[in-house]
Subunit: 160 residues, 4 copies
């Protein structure tokens, strides 16, 4: 039942020294928040939720990563514009730019994850398997519940 | 390390047929939300959070209970007034009136739980032990995380 | 076209020395906010709006008055309970209890103003005439606009 | 006491046929909302306030105009990016791009109005004179009050 582990396809990283891979993060729960800087629901809700998760989960078993999945208005959301956005919104969690192939609207990671749009939340368990995949805003209570269950399961397995 | 299991001391129940005891709820995670109907932070935040939990956790391993812990303005928050409040705020989760002894400001369960005020949140694990005890508003993400961990641990134990 | 000036019918005042009459307030714009302490929309929105108006209009040509128009759950919203509510919600604008006649559900001022329910907002111009009468939450922008127009008109007349 | 009437310096308009001048708008109250598309407070509050004003004041004596005053991150906030922003945020009130001279950080209208930053609100009375000039978010109630007073004064003068 083992599939080849999923990996992000990122053309540029912000807020991190060197590239981040899911492979490196094995053993931790990884929350990937897919957003676009000009998506109103992302700006109003998801960005704030990612910031809050970063604060709550700092230096724990949960890693929070932003994924800039531009699938429209490409010229308006280039990495230099994202950099200004990150500065203005005071974002300090790692953010990867989803790799964009010329002539393809949908960037690579978004295609591979089969995301319907932004915002989307994808959670990987400690083994690197996708165990949560949702389009639209996820309620904080549901998100916390999901992550809490993954953490406990992981700890239980570790102890077993 | 086993202590005598904690039990609620309730003089009257709303939204439930017959009394509820923690003893009956063993095997489920129990979230007790202590509030007062004239406490602004309770009305603005905690009551809404209890409603949301009831919706999310309906018919699952999590039981949500309101506890009306009146420790001030006693004459203004009698059960008949609480009944009007429950009706106006459309609350349908079980709510117990914390037992009040004449001449004692603090009601019985509030004393036993050593609550500092309202709102307060107390969570019992599936074995009936207190494992979360907080005064003031608890962030939804933190609350979900706590409950998720308890559920998983319980399931892990059950499987073991 | 002069009608007999409208007057409030109040059984008890809070946050004021002595009774307030609209007659006394002639020359000022008077905003009357009708509410019930157990009405969720009143607590969430109207009470906050009255507080904000009090802050903005303090010692100006605008008087802000709360009117406790109890038309249901009478035993739960007696003046002693309102007093606790006023204390807990830190209300310091004048609040009058709409006079209640036994066996009549609707109190006197509410009847006279023909209010449909709570919250309701009624504004009297500087001549004591009703010039705004609305059931439900009124947007701050609309409310400010209405008051601003009344103030200017009054000043214009005064100067004329 | 008459000064030369102030005029906007705009390099490009959105949501309008042909250029808009304050000269054309004489006789109406004009609310100019200065913003930047990557300014968090503008996006969270001011843009929503301008939308609400447009809805409330549509086809009345009040004209609502957005002014894109870019004074930082110039390459990220070019007109083509603003166009995407306008589309995503469903803005339909007229928006002018404040004219930017190469090598000057501050655009022309912003300089002339002596704005401190974004968001800023400037209101012109029916004679085209500036009568409100504020940096930061303006409360809806205060904004409505200001506009209401200007409208009444204008009507009073017209009648005189």
């Amino acid at each position: 039942m083992k599939s080849k582990p999923f990996e992000l396809s990122i053309s540029q990283w912000f807020n991190t020294k060197g590239a981040i891979t899911l492979e490196q993060l094995k053993g931790r729960v990884v929350v990937v928040g897919a957003f676009q800087m000009l998506c109103p629901a992302c700006v109003a809700h998801s960005i704030q939720q990612l910031k809050k998760m970063q604060t709550i989960f700092k230096n724990t078993q949960v890693a929070v990563i932003g994924l800039h999945t531009v699938f429209e208005h490409h010229t308006a959301m280039q990495p230099h514009a994202l950099e200004a956005f990150i500065h203005e919104y005071r974002l300090s969690f790692p953010i990867g730019v989803d790799r964009h192939i010329p002539d393809e609207a949908i960037p690579q990671t978004m295609q591979a994850l089969n995301l319907r749009g932004t915002p989307s939340t994808v959670i990987f368990d400690t083994a690197g398997e996708i165990c949560f995949h949702e389009f639209g805003h996820v309620d904080d209570l549901v998100l916390g519940l999901t992550i809490g269950q993954l953490l406990s399961t992981a700890n239980g397995s570790a102890r077993a």
